[in-house]
Subunit: 224 residues, 2 copies
DNA sequence: CCAAAAGTGTTTTTCCTACACCCATGT
DNA sequence: ACATGGGTGTAGGAAAAACACTTTTGG
């Protein structure tokens, strides 16, 4: 076997970029240029270059394909998909990533749609090109799992938030209702939140205390 | 950019193959052939071929490099390492796997050492070639984490085992002592074990009840 | 003063923890 | 009969679950 023959595969990355808005999970989708999947929706992604890591490629393609500043996005490696015929153009091995961005950090243009990219409610994100339905399925399972034993949700929330907003975030991701009083007792006892001086007066009702996470790092916690 | 330039990387797989024996974790190591790491120990692994998935390559190399039948091994994808200079020979992206094999299922030759391959206590597995120290570190963290919320340990135990053996397995992996009575109550309440009719009479003491896992599948459980 | 979400406490039940002795067997 | 690991119960404390009313604000 010649060295050239060893380099048979193209390396790519695909990103499942999540945001949380309107008590629902959203995913950023693009319109694929691949003629085999004419006009279909797909996950943003692209090739990994000779001088960059998979992480760097994921960040680069998020910027290029979805017009969202990658500095706002928290990335985690998800899984590597290496099925032989997953791309009809040839052998492409994809290192898939999870991305998380707080809706509140997005600019008007980043929230918007173009003919090339848009936010879609997660539950409508089906019928995607390639094996991207499968990737989204794995992504959601990983997200749900990690949310129960880490502080990953902070990457989907603004810096400051109310306990009700945090509870709704858990409910949206887990697809389950939580008891308000028990949730508050539990989350405060974990000692991962800091009260901030300000309150959020959102309308014709009592203003809510704002909190932030004590650290920017995603850490392991007791199970929610 | 020409198509040939896109195929710059060699794809490889490395396997952290664990076994449990003598109340300790062991890892299968090989002697690397790479001249840059002359005579050093490394994880078993090798190139991914044009007509196989990463999973298939991991299985193939475990057979070829460590003389252990891959049918006995439970594989899980660990992480993909894509640092640019991780292999001095050129760009190699490695899809790393965890492997688990019950010591009791190994044949005499599979348990043994050759000049090419051997079992090493996990805590002695340092100073490995490439970035394999790092891969082992990630592997142990993943193993410890998964053991607490899944039935993964079944892949390191024989089909039938006593509760004491199961407890010792948890203690070896987690590096912590557990209370015998509380452990038994907890694990039995989870309802994942089946009593089998036989007992294990190991010597000059009361024979122990044998159990097996109710299912071969690794499932999620409450935290141990 | 009304609508809307914020915020709070108690009781019951379940689970966790700590801890020590008798049992069945082989030699 | 003794040495060895197998096997069991209980009490006290902590955490989980279930559950409803008062507070604060804007309109």
């Amino acid at each position: 076997m010649k060295v050239q023959d060893l380099r048979f595969a193209v390396l790519a990355t695909d990103v499942v970029l999540f945001s949380l808005h309107d008590d629902r999970l959203w995913v950023r989708l693009i319109t694929t240029q691949n003629t085999h999947f004419q006009g279909m929706q797909a996950l943003p992604g692209g090739l990994i270059g000779p001088t960059e890591t998979a992480d760097e490629a994921a960040k680069r393609h998020i910027e290029a394909k979805t017009s969202i500043a990658s500095a706002k996005v928290h990335f985690e490696q998800l899984y590597t998909f290496s099925t032989i015929d997953r791309d009809p153009r040839g052998r492409v091995v994809a290192v898939a990533y999870l991305g998380f961005v707080p809706w509140e950090r997005l600019s008007e243009v980043e929230r918007g749609s173009t003919s090339d990219a848009r936010w879609s409610p997660l539950k409508d994100a089906r019928g995607l090109a390639y094996d991207h339905d499968e990737i989204v399925k794995v992504a959601l399972a990983r997200l749900r799992s990690r949310v129960t034993y880490t502080t990953l949700l902070q990457k989907l929330l603004p810096k400051e938030f109310t306990l009700t907003e945090l509870e709704h975030a858990y409910e949206a991701v887990l697809g389950a209702d939580l008891d308000k009083r028990n949730f508050r007792k539990k989350i405060l006892k974990l000692d991962i939140l800091k009260e901030v001086p300000n309150k959020k007066s959102g309308g014709a009702f009592r203003p809510a205390q704002l909190y932030r996470f004590a650290t920017d790092k995603v850490i392991e916690i007791e199970v929610i």
